[in-house]
């Protein structure tokens, strides 16, 4: 069970008073420097509402305290039973309502946050600044202490002073009610423990040099269970004072030997806000969050068991800074204003930024690191809020650096893997060719092919494009590639592709794929190239064993691009195939003629070469043969493929690629 929220009003507080709602920490009340009281929702740090006390300029708010939620009869039970009830209260959705506001002139205002109006005003108790107000957890008594050295017990039902007594020789700066509700701690310069029934001092604790700004019980029952518990003996409490970098822990002991603090925690600056989780089990450490004046938060985790001489240092320090990457600024620290443990004790609510518009964030605790610096862009977080919006719409950030995946772009889809064998067969049919069979047949020819590729150096006119292309592909020179690939002439493309060496086909396809994914205009250009590559080199492609991984992306790209008007494009593809085949069969001579010219060019080239040997001629012959072979095979292959297609009804590369032009 978390302790009651702390409002460390302290005198001369640079930080305005703020208070978390008890139990679930859902609301945060902050009294800004402008005298307005604002209630913020912790989730989403949204302003719930704002209240301006009528005398907010003359009687500034000095301290705040939320009334415990829900009402119940005054308790007449002791420790353990009470504890159960308390945890149950945390469960039920009790509405928080009354907020007690202590002012600088000695009056206390009770403000209803549900109705949004002032409920009552407690007057006549103090004639000077109120330093601290505390609600009794059970019977709705309110305790207040003031600069006028007095402590007042109020009956909030009737708004009358129930009891008023002198608390100290100097001003009383802080109060805390014991977990069982029967004792009251007060502190000016010395800490006193009062019996609430008799209003007599029960104990004294001295040790702070300056006036105490915060008091808090850290345990609800003593750690050694063997002794009988009278509600107060054996408990630990924590105190912090102004201008003091040490927080002291005291133990209320039966032997009255509490001259000094049991232990102390050291922080970097004067503590301004303290929150802790109360340990209920002996082994469970007390978690303590201390916000200092310098805007840092220190987290302590310690099992309280008796005396410890050395001041303890924090397990973890949290700081917040702006990113400072937007050119102008270096990272600036953002002060943490308050921190509170959530009910699960595993996460922390951080309040930081400006008191006029604080940001409340839930951070999960990770004390393994000793220093955490959170980077928060305070400006942007605040910019997300509009002043009074009709709807609570938040617009998430969408900027240009978002990655966009459309069908066909790598990463949009992967190759389909299917578990069933039948499907597997289907898929293998999708790509033409049976690599296992043809690889042996082609091996010799390929070797020759490779040797041939090396030879072309500077070829005249038509061929020079093929050479350029190969050079461009090898050197990956975008200038050359642009020059070649931007050709529009159908015949030129066809000839270039026909004359390009086989080994350059795959690099060309990769290059084309890359360009296809880019600009749609250039993509339409690339399609012409693709078309001729597939019509002229399909047989070679079908021989490749690793065709699927090599061209999978291209395949997906085409598949996704031709999805619109699928049937039409299929029909178009088939018709095209048919037409080309008919044309091919009619112009067989033509093709050989082309080969003839190629031969002629080859001779030219060979004449240019210095070392024209017999070997070369032999090569030439074999080359010629090869060319013819290829041509034939290509035709047969194409026929094969169309048949296959008609059987499968499966879409194939060429027709779709074709259709894309339209």
């Amino acid at each position: 069970m978390a302790a009651a929220a702390a409002a460390c009003g302290g005198e001369a507080a640079a930080r305005p008073p703020l208070a978390f709602s008890p139990c679930d920490r859902r609301l945060l009340a902050v009294s800004g420097s402008d005298g307005r009281l604002r209630v913020w929702e912790a989730a989403g740090s949204r302003l719930r509402h704002e209240y301006v006390p009528s005398a907010h300029l003359s009687a500034a708010c000095t301290c705040l305290a939320w009334a415990p939620p829900g009402g119940r009869p005054p308790p007449d039970k002791d420790g353990p039973q009470r504890k159960k009830r308390k945890s149950e209260a945390a469960e039920a959705d009790k509405q928080l309502d009354i907020l007690a506001i202590g002012t600088a002139v000695g009056s206390i205002l009770l403000y209803s946050t549900v109705k949004g109006e002032l409920q009552s005003k407690l007057d006549g108790g103090h004639d000077n600044r109120i330093n601290c107000v505390r609600w009794h957890q059970d019977n709705y008594c309110l305790y207040s202490c003031s600069e006028d050295k007095h402590i007042v017990e109020w009956n909030t039902q009737t708004c009358k002073v129930k009891c008023k007594w002198k608390g100290d020789n100097s001003s009383v700066s802080s109060l805390c009610i014991s977990p069982d509700g029967k004792m009251l701690l007060s502190a000016g310069r010395t800490i006193k423990l009062w019996d609430l029934e008799t209003k007599e001092v029960y104990r004294h604790f001295t040790g702070h040099a300056t006036s105490v700004s915060s008091l808090m019980f850290t345990t609800v029952k003593p750690m050694n269970e063997n002794k009988s518990f009278d509600g107060i003996t054996g408990l630990y409490f924590l105190s912090g004072a102004i201008h003091d970098r040490l927080l002291s822990v005291w133990q209320i002991r039966s032997d009255r030997k509490e001259k000094n603090a049991v232990m102390s925690f050291t922080v970097t600056d004067e503590p301004t806000f303290i929150d802790l989780t109360v340990s209920e089990v002996k082994e469970e450490p007390v978690k303590l969050a201390v916000v200092c004046r310098d805007g840092q938060l220190h987290l302590f985790e310690h099992i309280l068991n008796g005396y410890c001489k050395k001041p303890l240092t924090s397990n973890c320090t949290i700081q917040i800074a702006t990113p400072g990457n937007d050119g102008d600024s270096t990272p600036k620290p953002v002060p943490i204003l308050a921190a509170a443990f959530c009910t699960d004790k595993q996460s922390l609510l951080l309040v930081y930024g400006n008191t006029l518009q604080p940001i409340i964030e839930k951070v999960s605790l990770n004390t393994s690191e000793s220093h955490i610096c959170l980077i928060r862009d305070v400006q942007k977080v605040l910019a997300l809020k509009t002043e009074v919006a009709v709807t609570k719409v938040k617009t998430p950030v969408v900027n240009s650096d978002t990655k966009v995946l459309v069908p066909g772009i790598p990463g949009h889809s992967a190759a389909v893997k299917t578990p069933s064998s039948g499907k597997e067969k289907n898929k293998s049919k999708r790509k033409p060719g049976e690599p296992e069979d043809s690889i042996e047949e082609r091996l010799g020819a390929l070797d020759i092919d490779v040797s041939k590729v090396k030879t072309p150096g500077g070829l005249p006119q038509t061929d020079s494009f093929a050479v350029l292309l190969v050079q461009g592909l090898e050197s990956n020179d975008s200038d050359i590639l642009n020059k070649v690939l931007n050709t529009r002439k159908e015949t030129l493309i066809k000839n270039t592709v026909a004359r390009m060496p086989i080994h350059a086909v795959i690099p060309l396809l990769h290059e084309l794929t890359k360009r296809l994914q880019g600009n749609p205009y250039s993509a339409s250009q690339m399609v012409r190239w693709l078309k001729s590559v597939f019509t002229l080199h399909a047989s070679y492609l079908s021989t490749l064993p690793d065709l699927i991984p090599q061209l999978g992306m291209l395949y997906q790209l085409m598949e996704s691009r031709v999805k619109t008007l699928q049937k039409l494009s299929r029909l178009h593809g088939r018709l095209f195939l048919l037409v080309t085949q008919v044309a091919a069969s009619e112009t067989v001579q033509d093709v050989t003629e082309v080969n003839q010219t190629a031969k002629l060019v080859y001779e030219d080239e060979s004449s240019e070469e210095e070392g024209s040997d017999d070997e070369m001629i032999a090569d030439k012959d074999s080359d010629e043969n090869w060319d013819e072979d290829e041509e034939k095979e290509e035709q047969s292959d194409e026929q094969d493929m169309t048949v296959e297609k008609e059987i499968n009804g499966d879409s194939d590369l060429e027709p779709e690629n074709e259709s894309e032009e339209e």
Binding site: R26, R48, H49, A55, S58, G71, R72, K84, E88, A90, E91, A92, D93, K94, Q95, I98, G106, L110, S112, V114, K115, E117, Q119, S120, K121, D123, T156, Q157, T158, C159, P323, T343, D344, E361, K362, I375, R376, V381, L384, V388, V390, T391, K392, V393, K394, P396, V398, N399, S400, K403, L405, H412, S413, A414, A415, V416, K417, P419, K423, S560
Partner: protein, 831 residues
């Protein structure tokens, strides 16, 4: 500690707020509106729920302030009763049983002891009549109110279609194409009809009616967006009407301002239009109210307007058409396609909100946290237009990543976008990381993240299953391209399919090592590291409706529900069916923090809940007949602190709380606590007595009003009364014959003395001033004012506390009072 009380179904949000017009309390501080079976009392200043009036057993259909006591409220309900409430304290005063379904309630100033209600006509379906019910003043809580007289026959059931005119002289009611006006005094009924369509093709159907509060004027709204103002409707023939047209679609509601100088209208455009002086040319607008306006109401002091919207939103608007407050609970979406998802970061419930938005609903405060605009497209209000809407939402375990799927269906095409949002801690908002268009070629049926708390980003996996017979696995990749501005982005890692069946569900096992994807009749289990198919399960002939893995000690089980009404539990180690049960399960929801699984079944018009552990086929808890509606989706919301649950039967409620959303978009949950403990607002508040000191301002202004209105111990009142009649001095002075009176110079000081207040405190010059005054009346008035100003001076001088001033004042006044009483009037008797 909690006794083994039964499990109770608690409705915790989403009840329709737009059942009837909302009503402002007389001081415009509170707003009363119907919410399902309840009446909710909101504070107009803070948007908070102040009271919840519960007592009706049916939908509340109308509320109205008691015209003779503005602190009381009448409410009527489909359960056939009218209830009278004290709404400030939330007390039910009286119940009048009418015995008919009540569809609307009108409480009029002019009628002493009766209210008007709309009831269905006996024996005829869909015919309704307006009747006046006499509410007898007999003592007792429950009173029968059987005495009623029919006013109008054949009225529309909607409360918008009937309105009462100036001082209750007539009633106007519209139905279809007819307007009928009934004059109570003359007992005359006039009927006016319009043709179904006009020349320009507009639809003349009446949709609502409002009456001018001061003049004889009726405003009617029409289905084509026109507003007609009818005058001179005493004559059946010589009536006139003028037309005003701005709305492009049906006018949803009309309301006159308190003085009748302006008319408010609203419709589906979500724009409140204020027409001035009944003219077409002068109008003001308040646009962008979020959703269609259902009802408009005006506070009795004219300072506030209130619009109720179709999506359960209440907007409070200042009379100068400035937006003031908005009360939003669970926003009613057109269709909750996303299901209920819990945001791990805020613990809010996430579901569809406005079109294209995700609403984050805070369960504790019954309020919308915020609404996240995912689609980021302008919402165009037009009938038949298909809008992009969110269909799937998933959060990664820590809430760091949010995946959303939006789709727009325009036959035959489908537009799909999968968006992956990253929560940017720096700016505390979601940031779009990757947008994937057409991730699947058909509808996406399921989406889930691999929920692994301890793992880092690179092992985060998202799986989407689609009707295109594929499931796709998306992973985060580090971008190798140096030009890319962000280093991480998502891309597809694996695509799987099974016999070309449609993928319907997917889920990861608790440790993330197994992925289960259901393909119609078969559940396939895949290894998430190699993406190999491990095994398949099926329970023919039913298709798989929902699947989930067991957790913690039951992680070796896989649970599936088929649409043939079987719940199956397969053992993943033995790959065999462990048990199966015959149960028509519609939702299967595992608790993320325990082994328990909740199954909601739907059978013959009632939903039942079964909670079980996979290792035993016997359910732990059965809750039959949760509600009449079908349950649409469910979610377990982890509790911050484990609850102490007494009974073994309800152990499943310990770590998390189960929320169910019905078809009517009402949110329900379960509680083992007795209703008293659950009571959220009423009666358990800290009862702080209102004791407010008077401010200087109210001293100045409020005092005169105070004098007139209130009697009791107010001193000034006493003084005034004193000299008017009651004071013996004045009485004797007036009644004594003139010839026996002493000289005026003798009487004057005594008389003046008797009027003076706190003479002792005044300075000498002031007294002198007073003496100089001639007119007694004027003297009295100015004296009082001086008194006040004097107080003011004191105040500013000493910077004293306000309270102390009042203290002093009252002391001084008391003294004066005593003095006046002791005043010696013996001179009169001497004569």
């Amino acid at each position: 500690m909690v006794a083994a009380a039964g499990l109770r179904v608690v409705r915790c949000g989403g009840s329709p707020l737009h059942g009837a017009r909302a009503v402002f309390s007389a001081d415009a501080r509170l707003l009363l509106c119907t919410a399902g079976d309840f009446v909710k009392v909101y504070s107009a200043a803070t948007e908070e729920l102040v009271r919840l009036l519960r007592g009706h057993s049916g939908l509340v259909t109308g509320v109205g302030l008691n015209p003779h006591n503005c602190l009381q409220l009448y409410s009527c309900s489909l359960d056939g009763s009218i209830k009278l409430w004290d709404f400030t304290d939330g007390i039910l005063i009286k119940t009048f049983t009418v015995g008919y379904k009540l569809l609307a309630l009108y409480a009029l100033d002019s009628c002493e002891d009766s209210v008007f209600v709309i009831i269905p006509k006996r024996g005829e379906r869909d015919t309704f009549q307006l009747v006046s019910v006499k509410l007898t003043k007999t003592a007792g809580q429950d009173v029968e109110a059987k005495e009623f007289s029919v006013v109008l026959e054949g009225v529309d059931a909607s409360p918008k279609c009937t309105a009462f005119g100036r001082e209750g002289e007539y009633v106007a009611s519209v139905k279809n194409f007819h307007l009928q006006v009934y004059f109570f005094k003359r007992k005359q009924l006039n009927r006016f009809s319009l043709r179904a369509t006009n020349a320009k093709g507009g639809n003349n159907l009446f949709t609502c009616v409002a009456c001018h509060p001061k003049e004889d004027c009726i405003a009617t709204g029409h289905a084509d967006g026109k507003i007609r103002l009818w005058r001179n409707f005493y004559h059946n023939k010589e009536y006139v009407f003028s037309t005003m047209h701005w709305h492009h679609d049906r006018v949803m509601d009309l309301s006159f301002s308190i003085e009748g100088t302006s008319l408010l209208s609203g419709g589906v455009e979500a724009v409140l239009v204020q027409w001035h002086n009944g003219s077409d040319c002068k109008k003001d607008f308040l646009p962008r109210l979020g959703s269609a306006i259902e009802y408009i109401s005006v506070s009795s002091d004219g300072t506030l307007y209130c619009t109720l919207h179709t999506d359960n939103r209440i907007t409070i608007i200042n009379s100068n058409l400035r937006f003031s407050k908005s009360i939003q609970g669970l926003i009613r979406a057109r269709d909750v396609k996303t299901g209920l998802v819990v945001d791990p970061r805020t613990k809010a419930l996430v579901l569809n909100g406005e079109a294209g938005h995700l609403q984050f609903y805070c369960l504790q405060s019954d309020k919308q946290l915020y609404s996240l605009d995912i689609v980021q497209q302008e919402y165009i209000q037009q009938a038949g237009l298909n809008q992009t809407d969110l269909v799937k939402v998933a959060f990664s375990a820590q809430g760091k990543w949010l995946a959303t799927v939006e789709e727009r269906e325009e036959e035959p095409d489908l537009e799909l976008h999968l968006k992956l949002w990253f929560f940017d801690e720096e700016t505390q908002s979601f940031k779009l990381n990757t947008q994937i268009s057409m991730p699947h070629d058909d509808h996406i049926t399921a989406m889930c993240f691999r929920d692994m708390d301890e793992l880092e980003d690179d092992s985060l996996i998202l799986v989407t299953a689609g009707k295109d017979c594929l499931f796709k696995v998306w992973v985060i990749l580090e971008d190798t391209d140096p030009e890319a501005q962000q280093s991480l982005s998502w891309s597809c890692d694996f695509v799987g399919s099974y016999h070309n069946y449609q993928a319907t569900n997917c889920c990861f096992s608790e440790d993330g090592s197994l992925l289960a994807v259901s393909f119609e009749e078969t559940v396939t289990v895949w290894d998430s590291s190699t993406w190999d198919l491990k095994c398949t399960f099926c329970h023919p002939p039913g298709k798989i409706r929902d699947i989930c893995f067991g957790r913690l000690t039951c992680s070796k089980y896989l649970i599936g529900a088929t649409d043939h009404g079987f719940l199956c539990c397969w053992n993943l180690l033995s790959c065999a069916l462990e048990w199966s049960a015959h149960l028509n399960v519609v939702i299967l929801q595992p608790d993320p923090l325990s082994e328990h699984i909740a199954a909601v079944s739907w059978l013959s018009k009632e939903s039942s809940l079964f909670v079980f552990k996979p290792n035993e086929p016997r359910p732990i808890c059965i809750q039959r007949n949760l509600c009449q509606e079908k349950i649409q989706c469910a979610a377990f919301v982890p509790r911050d602190v484990p609850e102490t649950v007494g009974s073994e039967k309800y152990v499943w409620l310990r770590r998390s709380q189960l929320y169910l959303l019905t078809d009517a978009q009402e949110l329900m949950t379960f509680s083992t606590k007795s209703p008293e403990e659950r009571l959220t607002v009423s009666s358990k508040q800290l009862a702080v007595e209102e004791s407010l000191p008077v401010t200087p301002f109210s001293l100045l202004l409020g005092k005169h009003r105070h004098q007139q209105s209130q009697g009791d111990t107010d001193l000034t009142k006493v003084v005034r009364n004193h000299h008017e009649q009651d004071s013996p001095a004045v009485k004797e002075l007036l009644h004594t014959p003139a010839h026996v009176l002493p000289s005026a110079s003798f009487l004057c000081p005594i008389f003046i003395n008797s009027l003076l207040i706190s003479k002792e405190k005044k300075s000498a010059e002031e007294v002198a001033d007073e003496v100089e005054m001639e007119s007694e009346e004027a003297e009295e008035d100015s004296d009082e004012e001086k008194d006040v100003t004097e107080m003011e001076q004191e105040n500013t001088k000493s910077m004293d506390l306000l309270g102390e001033i009042t203290c002093k004042l009252s002391k001084a006044e008391e003294k004066e009072l005593r003095k006046v009483r002791k005043m010696d009037y013996s001179w009169i008797s001497a004569f």
